[in-house]
């Protein structure tokens, strides 16, 4: 197969690595993370995602990412990462007057 295998270090259950699944519900929207699954390689992960996450017409496009490829922020870094944004109300767009009759702002 030409599709890449997940890195060997990926957490495995019965030897199958974990994959994160992103689905785009329709054209114009972005892909959203919907969950994860196990699969032996990327091509099978894509098919498993189709079976597990799009059975009820949820999507038009699927992305698969090896879970091991995701770099996540750590709970220990929560304060320096996120607290400084809490008291900066001027970053919110609440100081503009929205003209009457503008419905899609």
């Amino acid at each position: 197969m030409t599709t890449p295998d997940a890195p060997a270090s990926t957490s495995a259950r019965k030897g199958w690595p974990l994959w994160e699944v992103f689905i785009r519900a329709r054209r114009g929207l972005s892909h959203q993370h919907v969950g994860s699954l196990h699969a032996p390689d990327a091509a099978m992960a894509l098919r498993n995602a189709r079976d597990v996450y799009t059975r009820r017409g949820e999507g038009v496009s699927i992305w698969i990412v090896p879970s091991a490829a995701i770099t996540a922020s750590s709970p220990d870094e929560k304060d320096p990462f996120f607290d400084p944004a809490m008291d900066k109300a001027y970053r919110h767009p609440t100081f503009y007057d929205v003209p009457e009759g503008v419905s899609h702002l």
Partner: protein, 258 residues
């Protein structure tokens, strides 16, 4: 042979038999695949096999309802599925064989879905509008079934030494049921333009399946015997064990719904 004058000289009896055969293939294989639920190697595969089984069950419902209508004896899909006995089933013997290990199920699935894909492609141009409409919907479903089985045969065949040996053993076990699929009959001969001639489906089927087997580093089996008779109601003992499982609920509680 009777033929209804209202039906543009189509042989209704032959058409009923033909539709029943296709419906029984889908129904019996759906039942077999359903047996994997809670037993598949992974929950992801459990869902995949369940989806495929439900696609087949949907096709079976359309075909059996239509067969009942053609027969004109007031039998509906449930009567045909749950109240017929072994000798009245018209399915290929391939679909009734036991699941075996996962490799056997995938070997059977590759053979059957590659056949069904060619079948529905041919039925797209059938003069019978019920069959052509079903084919238009089902050919997309079966395209996926075929891909799913292909992916597994490739991985098991070209995997470890053990998976290779077991995949090869599975192909050898299932191959005696291949000849029967592509056998023409009086029924299909009578229905030119309506039914798909099974013999004509074989070249495209062979191309596809032989490619998969070669790419999976497996060898084409050379069986020493072949099955026959499913389309005329002759079955292996496997069907006798499958039917009580499938029919018991309906026979114990006629018309049960939930």
């Amino acid at each position: 042979m009777t033929s209804s004058p209202s039906a543009q000289s189509v042989d209704q009896t032959a058409l009923t038999t033909y539709v029943l055969g296709l419906g029984d293939d889908a129904l019996i294989l759906a039942q077999r695949l359903g047996e994997w639920i809670t037993r598949a190697p992974q929950i992801e595969e459990d869902i995949a096999l369940g989806n495929i089984a439900l696609d087949l069950l949907g096709q079976a419902r359309t075909l059996l309802s239509y067969a009942g209508e053609l027969e004109g004896a007031g039998r509906g899909e449930d009567d045909l599925a749950f109240l017929r006995d072994e000798r009245e089933f018209r399915n290929l013997q391939l679909v009734e064989i036991e699941n075996g290990d996962f490799a056997v199920t995938m070997a059977r699935q590759l053979i059957f879905s590659a056949y069904q894909f060619e079948l529905y492609k041919a039925l797209l141009t059938s003069a019978d509008t019920t069959l052509s409409a079903l084919a238009a919907k089902a050919v997309k479903e079966v395209d996926y079934h075929r891909d799913h089985a292909t992916q597994w045969v490739l991985r098991l065949g070209d995997g470890t030494a053990e998976s290779h040996d077991r995949m090869q053993a599975a192909l050898n076990q299932v191959w005696p049921y291949v000849e029967e699929i592509f056998e023409g009959s009086d029924t299909t001969a009578t229905l030119a333009g309506i039914a798909a001639d099974p013999t004509a489906l074989r070249p495209a089927w062979s191309d596809y399946v032989e490619n998969v087997i070669a790419e999976a580093t497996l060898t084409m089996p050379t069986p020493k015997w072949r099955s026959r008779g499913g389309r005329t109601g002759y079955h292996s003992e496997n069907l006798g064990h499958l039917l009580p499982d499938m029919q018991n609920l309906h026979r114990s509680h006629p018309g049960a719904t939930w």
